[in-house]
C-alpha cells in the first residue's frame, strides 16, 4: 500500500511538473500579477490554459494519494520519499524541455536524490 502510493505520487508529479514548466515558460507571469488583488485574475488565467488544467488534474491525483500515504506513514518518511521524482524530472527537463543541465546541476540533482534515498531508509 505504502509503496503503491509513492509510485502514484511520483508518476503524477512528474507529469504535472513537466506540463506546468512547459506552459509557464510559454507565457511567464509578471511580478505585478502576484499582488493580492490580482491573484483571482491570475487563477482565472491559469484555468483557461489546458496544459495547466491537465497538470492540476495530475496534481490532484498526487494530492489524494499523498493524503492516503500520510494516514499510513510518518511525515518524515512521506515527504522525503516523494522527492524521488527530482532525478527523473531533471532527465526529462534536459530531454523534453531542452534545459541546459550543467555538470554542477546534475551533481546537485544526484546529491538531492541520494539525500532523498537516505531519508527514506
Amino acid at each position: 500500500m505504502k509503496w503503491m502510493m509513492v509510485g502514484i505520487i511520483v508518476g503524477s508529479t512528474v507529469l504535472a511538473d513537466l506540463l506546468q514548466s512547459f506552459e509557464m515558460k510559454r507565457h511567464t507571469v509578471a511580478v505585478e500579477d502576484l499582488r493580492p488583488g490580482r491573484v483571482a485574475g491570475l487563477l482565472a488565467s491559469f484555468a483557461r490554459r489546458l496544459p495547466l488544467v491537465v497538470a492540476v488534474f495530475f496534481m490532484a491525483i498526487s494530492f489524494f494519494a499523498f493524503m492516503k500515504l500520510l494516514s499510513v506513514a510518518d511525515l518524515s518518511f512521506s515527504v522525503p520519499v516523494t522527492a524521488a521524482s527530482v532525478a527523473l524530472e531533471t532527465v526529462f527537463a534536459r530531454w523534453i524541455l531542452k534545459e541546459k543541465v550543467t555538470a554542477l546541476r546534475w551533481a546537485g540533482a544526484l546529491s538531492v536524490a541520494c539525500g532523498v534515498a537516505l531519508l527514506a531508509m
Partner: protein, 147 residues
C-alpha cells in the same frame, strides 16, 4: 518589474538570480512546508480510518487543519507555477528540496517522529545538492514576454 525585464535578468548565460526569484523560491518553500505540516497534523488527529471512498477525503478537507493546509498548498501551487515560468524545472526542484528537510525537522519536533542518522545524512546530501544547483543559472531557456 515588467516581465520583459524579468526575462533579461534571467536570460541564458547569466549566473545572476534576481532577488524576486529568490524571494518567490522562499515563499514556495514556506507555503509547502507549512501546508504539509498542517495537513499532516489534521490527518494525525482525525478519528476514523480512511478507506477508499472519495467522500471521506472530501469531508476531511473541510476539517480546520486540513483546510488550512489545503489553502496553503493552493498558494504554493500558484507561486510555484509562477516560479516555473521564471526559472528552469531542473533549478526549481533541487532548490525547493530544502522543504523536505524542514518537514523532517517539523516531524521530529511536533510529532516526535524518529529521525535516524541516515535521515540526517540524507539532509546533508540535500543541502549539498541545493548549494550545487544554487551556483548555476536559474533560467537557461528562452521565454516569451508575459501576455
Amino acid at each position: 518589474m515588467p516581465a520583459v525585464e524579468q526575462v533579461q535578468l534571467t536570460s541564458p548565460g547569466t549566473r545572476r538570480v534576481d532577488l524576486k526569484t529568490k524571494l518567490l523560491t522562499a515563499f514556495v518553500v514556506i507555503t509547502n512546508v507549512l501546508g504539509n505540516f498542517s495537513m499532516s497534523w489534521g490527518m494525525k488527529h482525525q478519528t476514523t480510518d480512511l478507506g477508499w471512498a472519495p467522500y471521506e477525503y472530501i469531508r476531511l478537507i473541510f476539517t480546520p487543519w486540513v483546510l488550512l493546509g489545503t489553502a496553503l498548498l493552493i498558494l504554493w501551487l500558484l507561486s510555484r507555477m509562477t516560479l516555473l515560468g521564471w526559472a528552469d524545472l531542473s533549478y526549481v526542484l533541487p532548490m525547493t528540496s530544502i522543504g523536505y528537510v524542514l518537514s523532517a525537522v517539523l516531524g521530529k519536533v511536533f510529532f516526535g517522529e524518529q529521525v535516524t542518522w541516515q535521515r540526517w545524512l540524507g539532509t546533508a546530501f540535500i543541502v549539498l545538492g541545493i548549494i550545487f544547483v544554487g551556483l548555476t543559472a536559474a533560467n537557461t531557456t528562452k521565454q516569451e514576454p508575459a501576455r
